[in-house]
Amino acid sequence: MSELPLEAGLLLAALLFLTGLVGVITRRNILFMLMSIEIMFNAAGLAFVLAGAHNGQADGQVMLIFILAMAAAEVAVGLALIIQMHRKYNSVDTDVLSELRD
């Protein structure tokens, strides 16, 4: 069977992770921030699976399953918090959450 270069795969994981990081830093809409966090989870999972395939072990895939479960729990709680925020402030802009500053 043919082979994949590991560097290219890890490079893609790094690209996706940094794109997600830029999204978290620059966007002020909290929905987009949550989506960018999902992108970062996914990139980390990609790195896990490729490293597992490099070693010929199943552990990388096991880690991706854990990441998947954690992302599901995180999204459920995060979206509930966003809905509460929208109910209270009628906005999804993170700048309205500045009560502690005033």
Partner: protein, 176 residues
């Protein structure tokens, strides 16, 4: 195989950039689904068919549908795109983008120096994965179950619409 990998990688990267730069939340969500499907293709060709299926079912099928429902509940309205355009000024994103680009250059440098490694395409099927999952990782599986339970209960509790409770005096005041 390599050509499929590179096509899927380009699709994943372009779709991810589109997610971060879109102004409409639903458009960004659709691009995110495309990105996840492309990553799923990469999982499949790197010998992980079980996880590829799981990525489509759980990520694209369940988590992003949750996002769609949340966007429906938020009911953002037609002019939310314009508000987003106001928020997304260049002076807000240029410096973080440059810093991330520096990090990316470092990573590229590290990966280029680390040559010779390759992914041998041995298919690791569901049987091997589950033997590992329920063998050495049993405790982690149970902890994940507890985490999901806490997530469900927490999401229900946080997302519940709180009933405003007034004192008797205020209630009669409001009624009169």
């Amino acid at each position: 195989m390599n050509i499929i990998f590179y096509i899927a990688a380009i699709v994943a990267f372009v779709a991810t950039v589109m997610v971060v730069t879109r102004k409409n939340a639903v458009h960004a969500l659709l691009y995110l689904i495309v990105s996840l499907l492309a990553v799923s293709v990469i999982f499949f060709i790197s010998g992980a068919p079980f996880v590829a299926a799981l990525e489509v079912i759980v990520y694209a099928g369940a988590i992003l549908v949750l996002f769609v429902f949340a966007i429906m509940m938020l009911n953002l309205g037609a002019n939310s795109g314009k508000e987003e355009a106001k928020l997304l000024k260049p002076n807000a994103w240029v410096i973080p983008a440059i810093l991330s680009l520096i990090l990316l250059c470092e990573l590229v440098y590290v990966f280029i120096n680390y040559d010779g490694a390759s992914v041998e395409l041995r298919v690791i099927g569901p049987q091997e994965v589950s033997q590992s999952l329920f063998g050495g990782y049993m405790l982690a599986v149970e902890l994940t179950g507890m985490l999901l339970m806490a997530g469900v209960v927490g999401a229900y509790h946080i997302g519940k619409e709180k009933k405003r409770e007034y004192h008797r005096y205020l209630q009669t005041n409001e009624n009169s």
